[in-house]
């Protein structure tokens, strides 16, 4: 068994195009959600999202690369570049054969699918670009990261809806802890903000048209976001031997299945995942200073999540801070846990707990300290990051300050 540490982090999302700008936005409680700028937005009833703006793909990639990279792959590659540069990990020889990439995503190249369905169904074209399949496949992002950085070990993609990234990072953690790999590149990416991607979510009638206000009594649903975050997980020995900076320790992980309903969350399933992550990390609830909530802003999730935390934490629930940064960057679906891990790094490393913004009114069903509207300075020794997916699949990570 090895101790597992994070030595690199990278991101691009609605709050910023890298980690420092994202952490600054979280500290300021800035909202990255705004009017959507996408084709046919006038035919949508939900017209807001946490969109990556000011992004010129041509500044990052060549024309040939772009013919192969869907937007979710572009985001993943940009985040991986930042994480690898910070980590300083330069795999070569034997090590490169054992280091791989585990990414979470749910929609894959949905924008590519959307564009090409439009071409053949709406515009009546009989021919599509030859690279449609390699662009849209769910593993494209993980594969391109492996190619960009010469990582020849185990690489694959995990798709468990809103828990995809947490499942991916949890598996990467287990692989490094067990010695199966000396290091892993992991995280998640999503780019579902296209006409079809938003239209599909509209159908379920759980989306807000105003904003994402988790835990607030006046909340009225979720808001989609997009982007990626990627990390380098490696053994503590390796990080120390290289003299790499340790951002935090990944201390535990647990996953459970509700086995009950395809969309409604179960308090028991969430409880078992939270308690399992604490046990796996050897942490008591009282040691946890911060929880990054799943906190989607739907009536059902926020109520159930608060009840689960209260039940597992007991008296410690009165002291723990729990915030949902989805209020700022939106719900990145398969990429969400990855971007949200940055909030845990902020708490553990910088002593800044990002807030739940848009909070207007206390909800008796959510009676926890949700860090309303303003970030808080605090010494946090351990943190949890929750993800509870449609399908009843729960994945919770536990981290300690490095």
């Amino acid at each position: 068994m090895h101790r597992v540490v994070i030595t690199g982090a990278g991101t691009i999302n609605a709050l910023g195009h890298d980690v420092p700008s994202t952490l600054a936005a979280m500290r300021e409680g800035r909202c990255g959600i705004g009017p959507l700028s996408i084709r046919d937005v006038d035919r949508l009833s939900v017209r807001i999202g946490g969109q990556v703006t000011g992004f010129d793909e041509a500044q990052h990639f060549s024309r040939q690369e772009l013919s192969l990279y869907d937007r979710f792959t572009q985001f993943a590659l940009i985040a991986a570049r930042e994480a690898m540069a910070q980590s300083g990990l330069a795999p070569e020889g034997e090590a490169a054969l054992r280091i791989g990439v585990v990414l979470g995503n749910s929609g894959g190249g949905l924008g590519t699918t959307d564009d090409n369905y439009r071409a053949v169904y709406e515009e009546g074209k009989s021919r599509v670009h030859p690279f449609v399949v390699p662009r849209l496949m769910n593993n494209a992002a993980a594969s391109h990261i492996s190619m960009a950085h010469g990582l020849m070990g185990p690489s694959f993609t995990v798709s468990t809806a809103c828990a995809s990234s947490n499942h991916a990072m949890g598996l990467a953690f287990q692989m490094v802890r067990s010695g199966a790999a000396p290091a892993m590149v992991t995280g998640g990416s999503e780019a579902m903000l296209c006409f079809g991607g938003v239209k599909a979510w509209e159908g379920l009638r759980v989306m807000s048209r105003r904003g994402c206000r988790p835990f607030s009594r006046d909340r009225d649903g979720m808001v989609q976001g997009e982007g990626a975050a990627v990390y380098v997980f490696e053994t503590e020995e390796s990080a120390r031997a290289r003299g790499a900076e340790i951002l935090a320790e990944v201390a535990g992980f647990a996953m459970t299945s509700d086995a009950s309903d395809i969309v409604m969350p179960s308090q028991q399933g969430a409880e078992r995942a939270i308690a399992g992550a604490l046990a796996d990390a050897g942490l008591s609830a009282g040691e946890v200073g911060y929880i990054n909530a799943h906190g989607t802003g739907t009536a059902a999730n926020d109520r159930t999540e608060c009840a689960a935390v209260a039940s597992v934490f007991g008296a410690a629930a009165e002291r723990v801070m729990i915030s949902s940064t989805k209020s700022m960057h939106g719900h990145l679906i398969g990429g969400t846990g990855a971007v949200e891990l940055l909030a845990c790094l902020s708490a553990l490393r910088d002593g800044v707990v990002p807030p739940t913004i848009g909070y207007a009114e206390a909800d008796p069903d959510c009676p926890l300290d949700v860090v309303p509207n303003v970030a808080r300075e605090a010494r946090v020794g351990a943190a949890l990051s929750n993800a509870f997916a449609f399908g009843g699949l729960n994945a919770v990570l536990a981290l300690r300050a490095g």
């Binding site: 759980v206 969309v263 009536a299 059902a300």
Partner: protein, 106 residues
């Protein structure tokens, strides 16, 4: 069976277009509940005929398609949605659809 008569009696008081809306809404809800339309009564709540939250969202979709209307309903807050679309009973849903058809097809 007595309910059928009541339904017919109520319906007969309405102009034919509205009678038609009531019957069509009942048929949509009955199909979702896997019941015969004659088993669905105006005072029934959705829970009473076995329609859960997912079934409700599907029923609203079917109503939007059948009547070519937009139903303002957010599953996060059925109470707040109630002003525009009261889902308490089959009868309130029918009344809400009639009102939306009037507004949106005016």
């Amino acid at each position: 069976m007595q309910m059928d008569k009541t339904l017919d009696a109520d319906a007969s008081m309405l102009p034919s277009a509205h009678r038609d809306i009531g019957a069509r809404v009942t048929a949509i809800l009955a199909e979702q509940a896997m019941l015969e339309p004659s088993d669905v009564e105006p005072q029934h709540s959705l829970a009473e005929i076995g329609i859960d939250s997912l079934g409700l969202v599907e029923s609203i979709f079917a109503i939007e398609e059948a009547f070519d209307i937009q139903v303002p309903f957010n599953a996060n807050d059925p109470a707040a949605s109630a002003e525009a679309f009261d889902i308490s009973t089959v009868a309130t849903i029918t009344a809400a659809v009639e009102s939306l058809v009037r507004q949106q097809h005016a």
